[in-house]
Symmetry: C2
């Protein structure tokens, strides 16, 4: 088992605002993909779609201002059954976001790609909250070939 | 043992050019930190310095156009003894860069930070090669608190 890890800190932003960006369709559409539908509440499933495909996430935990956890229930084979976890912590005027995408079976090349891509989406989340505008798909940052 | 993984693809760039950016002081200073000194050839040690500190890397492998490997011989405690590995592969007009920073003892919060930071430096390397200008320290992208 290998994990993708990331961390950002978001300036002048309370944990509740980060939580909202992770638990509302409007928030999620602002930093990950504009094509976000479904039910972002605990027990619900969110459908994230991108030009090349997408992911269905079951919301397994959502503690306001503290934690959000998704289980991947549909998407690329390597993602199915993996867990995406967001932990939030206030630090003065900042919110620290600790991200873990765990449960990958093997460190395949696609996992390398997803790690860098998650990193760029973390920066998109930070930009959305600090500046009011993220870089959600289809206007996301290209890290490799044109999507 | 847990690893940091990343992958980018660099457009209109031959593996040799990426290799040069990883094996010359001028290249390294263009995307990682302007304060890069030492000997970037196999068996040499490169000193990378940033405002908060830095790393000394022993060059353990350098295969032109294919692979570069460093062993961390000095720096933060969590880094010492870890391995930073760059694999390069031509794919048409692109060069694929497969990055692994392996040998971390524990997935501590600092490792989350370093993973996101490595991701932003991968984008800096890509920008240097594609557009002629990276975002090397001290002009690097902030992912958390001001350095």
């Amino acid at each position: 088992m290998v994990d993708i890890l990331h961390r950002i800190a978001v300036e002048d932003t309370a944990p509740k605002k980060v939580y909202d960006a992770l638990t509302t369709l409007h928030g999620l559409a602002g930093w990950w993909t504009e094509n976000t539908t479904g039910d972002p509440t605990p027990g619900g499933t969110i459908a994230f779609r991108f030009p090349p495909g997408g992911f269905d996430m079951l919301v397994t935990e959502a503690v306001p201002g503290q934690r959000v956890t998704w289980e991947v229930v549909d998407g690329p084979e390597e993602w199915i059954g993996t867990t995406v976890d967001w932990q939030l912590r206030r630090d003065g005027d900042w919110t620290v976001v600790l991200f873990t995408h765990s449960g990958w079976a093997e460190p395949v090349e696609f996992m390398h790609h997803c790690s860098t891509k998650w990193g760029s989406y973390m920066m998109s989340l930070k930009a959305l909250l600090e500046k009011g505008k993220g870089a959600a798909s289809p206007n996301d940052v290209h890290i490799a070939y044109p999507d």
